[in-house]
């Protein structure tokens, strides 16, 4: 069994709890607003579309949504140890991780890939297939980000901080300054997938598609495996 509906239900309600849902809605709403304003001011322009979708949607929104959904799917439960109620059950721990991963991917994609697609259509009506290309990149990125940040959630109480550091410092800052860093960036791997679809040379990745595909798979599978191992050995220290 790879999926447990009860675990999924609990995870979904935890991640989409009131405050978190607001934060999750904030960035997509901002993206849509930007798209509407830009379209009204500049009209349909592939280069501007690529700038907004690549610069904001893919580079900022997807990883941030991924941090919130990925760490939120397990971090708080481990933090306050309420996860005991899930773990003290005859349910294989890998099942729990895979279920939580599925929910985290679903939420990340719903709050990032879908708005990216909508914003793409608003910006340029899918000229040069940019809307679909970036939405696909966002969807692919959602999988790897969710898996990576879910693992962080099983490792550290400060998973959100580490997640933000990865997304903002490693990918965004160092990625734009240091060349090699881009090879190890989920964002660039996702772009490589989108590059196949987008036309007009607006969407370019620093990583070749075969390499990107392999790295995406390795990161997703590897982090998920590691998270399951962490959960199998989860320890509650006496707090006396």
């Amino acid at each position: 069994m790879l999926y447990h509906p009860t675990v999924a239900r609990l995870t979904q309600r935890a991640v989409l709890g009131r405050r978190r849902a607001l934060i999750l809605l904030l960035l997509p709403a901002l993206l849509i607003v930007i798209a509407i304003v830009v379209r009204a001011l500049v009209g349909a322009d592939d280069e501007v579309t690529a700038g907004v979708l690549g610069g904001f949607a893919l580079a900022t929104m997807v990883p941030l949504i991924g941090v919130i959904a990925g760490t939120g799917a397990i971090g708080p439960e481990i933090d306050d140890s309420s996860i005991v109620y899930l773990l003290a059950k005859p349910v294989p721990r890998p099942t729990i991780i895979l279920t939580k991963l599925t929910v985290a991917i679903g939420i990340t994609a719903a709050f990032s890939a879908v708005p990216t697609l909508i914003a793409g259509f608003i910006l340029g009506g899918n000229g040069s297939r940019l809307a679909v290309a970036y939405a696909l990149a966002a969807a692919v990125g959602s999988v790897a980000y969710a898996a990576f940040f879910l693992m962080l959630g099983t490792i550290s109480r400060h998973a959100v901080v580490f997640g933000l550091v990865y997304a903002l410092v490693w990918e965004a800052l160092l990625g734009s300054l240091v060349e090699g860093v881009q090879t190890l960036s989920i964002q660039q791997w996702s772009l490589a997938v989108g590059e196949r679809i987008g036309q007009g040379g607006h969407l370019v990745s620093e990583v070749a598609l075969p390499v990107a595909t392999v790295l995406l798979a390795v990161v997703t599978v590897g982090t998920t495996w590691f998270a399951a191992q962490r959960l199998r050995s989860l320890t509650l220290a006496g707090e006396e």
Binding site: Y85, K89, T235, A237, G238
Partner: protein
């Protein structure tokens, strides 16, 4: 599946030894795990519940290793000490989710809620519950699959007397039905009221094991210290030291207090008033000076 065996188990965290070479078997009936705070009770329960690996030794349920074996949860119910639960769920949703994770449904959940008398508040969010109500919902979540073994970490904390009595009745009836019930407590009276069998841990060591009368006797037979004020401390002192139940005396002349160390509790408590009467000495004050639980327990370790 009914007996948890802890075999030569130690557990340390860095340089701190939390549990030191403990061997015990917990079988059917109600067992109290007694010890002062910080003695290693939670560490032991976490190991029995599969949430902590022993550093050395083995923790098993009828011969089956508990650590990293989620199948044991078919037979174990755990009531953790921590308060944290899924506060955004209602009590009913929470217990229902616990039942589903055991492959059970609505009926099991409702039965467990009825057992802990929480049906009246089952549609309220757990976040709004009092500590005692949370404790009962935790209990219901551990009972949904009617486990053979029930582990409870400080279950009476935060309960009012009525809830406490109700939970005690429940645990008693489970023990009488042949289930293995283990609960930890740092309060002697709680353990005494409920458990026929007691395991005492102090500072990570297994200090005593047996029925509560034996433990009680061990506790009362230890040297007792009393502070006595009387009309003639010196005369009282000389009369007391003549009897073998008194092991030592110290006369604090400045504060007018006679410190007595008695070895035979029963004999000394009968002796003191008799001696006072026979010598025409008035007793103003007799108070035990080392009744703290820690001193009681630390004596047990030495015994």
């Amino acid at each position: 599946m009914t007996t948890i065996r802890i075999d030569s188990v130690s557990r340390w965290f860095g340089n701190v030894v939390a549990v030191n070479d403990v061997t015990m078997a917990i079988g059917p009936g109600v067992t109290g795990l007694l010890g002062p705070n910080g003695a290693g009770k939670s560490t032991l329960i976490n190991m029995m519940a599969g949430f902590l690996a022993p550093s050395t030794g083995a923790v098993t349920l009828d011969g089956v290793r508990i650590w990293r074996n989620e199948q044991v949860y078919k037979h174990i119910g755990l009531v953790p000490e921590r308060e944290a639960m899924y506060d955004f769920l209602t009590g009913r949703e929470f217990v229902r989710a616990n039942a589903e994770l055991h492959g059970l449904g609505r009926a099991a959940a409702q039965k467990a809620l009825a057992t802990v008398e929480m049906e009246y508040a089952q549609n309220r969010r757990i976040g709004t519950y009092s500590k005692g109500m949370r404790q009962r919902v935790k209990m219901a979540s551990a009972l949904v699959h009617e486990p053979d073994v029930l582990l409870l970490d400080e279950p009476f904390n935060g309960m009012d007397p009525r809830q406490r009595m109700h939970l005690m009745d429940l645990l008693r009836s489970m023990g009488a039905a042949g289930r293995t019930v283990l609960f930890s407590s740092h309060i002697l009276e709680e353990v005494e009221q409920l458990a026929a069998h007691i395991e005492v841990v102090v500072a990570g060591r297994h200090a005593a094991s047996g029925d509560f009368r034996k433990i009680r006797r061990l506790m009362t037979d230890r040297p007792h210290h009393y502070a006595v004020r009387s009309s003639d401390d010196r005369a009282l002192a000389s009369a007391l030291i003549a009897d073998p139940s008194t092991a030592g005396l110290e006369l604090d002349q400045r504060d007018g207090i006679l410190h007595v160390q008695a070895v035979d509790f029963a004999r000394f408590t009968a002796l003191l008033p008799r001696v006072a009467r026979d010598h025409g000495i008035r007793l103003y004050e007799v108070s035990p000076s080392d009744e703290s639980l820690e001193s009681v327990f630390s004596y047990l370790v030495a015994a």
